[in-house]
């Protein structure tokens, strides 16, 4: 397995791609999101699995995103996602509201190669009312009068996330954050940034195997040290609340966001750090 570079990885994401991202508590690749901003990606369709956070707000603010399907966009303790909120208000972003288990279910349907899966709940919500692609059928296993929602399989073009490490075979280890495994299984391609590449094969080690995603599902690996920052990475590093709070403050305005981007994404120092 030969790692690629972060900028080459960003270049391999075509405009308009359906890109699945884990949320801020589950190993997003902020490094790759910044590289996508630098490459000037356009028209991306984001899928928050099951919610979206810092990376999504950044990409939306930078004009990379045409649509987002997600159960929420939030900066957590730092509050509402400012560029997402502004884009919704301006009507420049198509938002396809979802609910968390529905995202997981649609990806699990793709993971299993079935065209749909059912999910309880949802009936009576406006989320369902605004999803013409979700169907309500009468549960064939009840004696009539039991409506249940079917959700279609959803296969992202590209899964993007950050893992702790890759091995010589191209397997990646990310421990308990197994929604990333589901995203990788369900997606056509998976682009994974890692802190480091190590020798050996995680699948030969009974302690590492359960938290490993098989190289079968991993299209490319790029090394990006502290690639999840400001988000936490398991026991490797913690959440940088001050960095996110500073972003939330500056990104309240278009101008503040532009200044932040210049400093944290476009400046030679910022780009070189990735």
């Amino acid at each position: 397995m030969t790692p690629t570079t972060l900028e080459a990885m960003a270049a391999s994401v075509p405009d308009g791609a359906l890109v699945a991202l884990p949320p801020d508590n589950s190993l997003p690749s902020i490094a790759l999101a910044k590289a996508l901003v630098r490459r000037g990606a356009r028209g991306l369709r984001l899928l928050g699995v099951p919610v979206a956070g810092f990376a999504a707000d950044l990409l939306i603010g930078a004009g990379c995103v045409a649509e987002i399907e997600t159960s929420a966009v939030s900066l957590g303790e730092a509050g509402f996602a400012p560029r997402f909120s502004a884009a919704v208000k301006a009507g420049t972003l198509v938002v396809r509201d979802c609910t968390c288990p529905a995202v997981h279910t649609m990806l699990q349907a793709a993971e299993k190669g079935v065209p749909f899966m059912p999910l309880r709940g949802l009936i009576g919500s406006d989320i369902l009312a605004h999803r013409p692609d979700w169907r309500v059928i009468d549960n064939p296993y009840a004696d009539g009068g039991d409506p249940i929602v079917l959700l279609p399989a959803l296969q992202p073009d590209i899964a993007i996330f950050h893992a702790v490490m890759a091995d010589a075979e191209g397997n990646v280890w990310l421990g308990r954050r197994r929604e990333c495994a589901t995203i990788a299984h369900a997606s056509k391609r998976a682009l994974v940034t890692v802190e480091r590449v190590v020798p050996g094969n995680f699948l030969e080690d009974e302690r590492l195997a359960p938290g490993t995603i098989n190289a079968t599902y991993v299209t490319e690996v790029a090394v990006a040290e502290r690639g999840a920052h400001p988000v936490a990475l398991l026991d490797e590093y913690g959440f940088d609340a001050a960095y996110v709070a500073d972003y939330a403050r500056m990104a309240k305005t278009e101008a503040g966001f532009a200044t932040w981007l210049d400093r944290e994404v476009f400046s030679p120092r910022a780009a070189a750090a990735e």
Binding site: N25, S26, P50, S71, K89, G121, T182, D235
Partner: protein, 250 residues
């Protein structure tokens, strides 16, 4: 014992609802992100010696799940989550929740973060305690602009549980799913039935006598300020600093 803080009263009120013997047993409670008061109430129940399992979704270490967040929803689907907490940018008199936004769909006036798992959890958990500190006609409306999660369902629609109660900064309401209405359960200090009516956009039932929301007992206060705060310092440092005047070790 120093002055009782409003948050301490709310935590104690929530804890009493959790262990309410009239409600289904709370063996396993899940608490979502950014919910310090529900988390404090759960820890209070635990520290009082009730053998309840807590799944705190956004604890940085010791996260209880090994399938990612999917596991919370699977657990709830299995019927293993007895109690969940939800809030809402708007909550109406039928206990409908709006976490999406006001104005035209999907929240063109004020966009909230989104519905998270509410459209599922509210239906599939055995019960839900609604919690919203801000008690105003802006939040408690007659009819929500958009329904993230419905308070009740049409007959025949599979539903495992409903709202048990709504705890606010001014009072506690009980919810009656059979008639899809709230009734006033208790008033926090300084509030009257009239002040609640003035601050609430939806109609609700008022029993002949409405008790005051009790003060936390000295034992409850001691637990909250001591062992409960210890458990919460890592996840909610700002809350602990503000309410309990405690700072996490660097």
């Amino acid at each position: 014992m120093s002055d009782i803080r409003p948050e301490e009263r709310l935590a104690a009120a929530l804890a009493r609802l959790i262990i309410d013997p009239a409600a289904p047993p709370a063996r396993h409670i899940a608490v979502g992100a950014a919910s310090p008061l529900p988390a404090a109430a759960c820890w209070l129940v635990r520290k009082q010696g009730h053998p309840v399992r807590l799944s705190l979704l956004h604890r940085r270490s010791g996260n209880p799940f090994t399938e990612g967040t999917r596991e919370l929803f699977d657990l709830t689907g299995q019927g293993r989550i007895d109690l969940f907490f939800l809030g809402g940018g708007q909550i109406d008199g039928q206990a409908n929740l709006n976490l999406v936004g006001t104005g035209e769909w999907p929240g063109r006036e004020v966009r909230f973060p989104g519905s998270f798992g509410s459209a599922f959890m509210y239906v599939m958990a055995h019960r839900t305690i609604l919690f919203r500190e801000e008690h105003s006609p802006r939040v408690f409306v007659e009819k929500v602009d958009n329904i993230s999660a419905p308070g009740v369902n049409a007959p025949g629609v599979f539903r495992r549980g409903h709202a048990q109660a709504l705890v606010t900064g001014k009072c506690v309401f009980r919810f009656h799913p059979e008639r899809a209405r709230f009734s006033l359960l208790s008033l926090h200090p300084g509030e009257t039935v009239e002040s609640i009516r003035a601050a609430t956009g939806f109609d609700f039932d008022v029993p002949a006598e409405v008790p005051r929301t009790p003060d936390p007992t000295p034992e409850e206060l001691a637990l909250l300020r001591g062992p409960v705060c210890d458990e919460m310092l890592e996840t909610y440092p700002e809350f602990c600093a503000r309410v309990f005047n405690r700072k996490a070790a660097a």
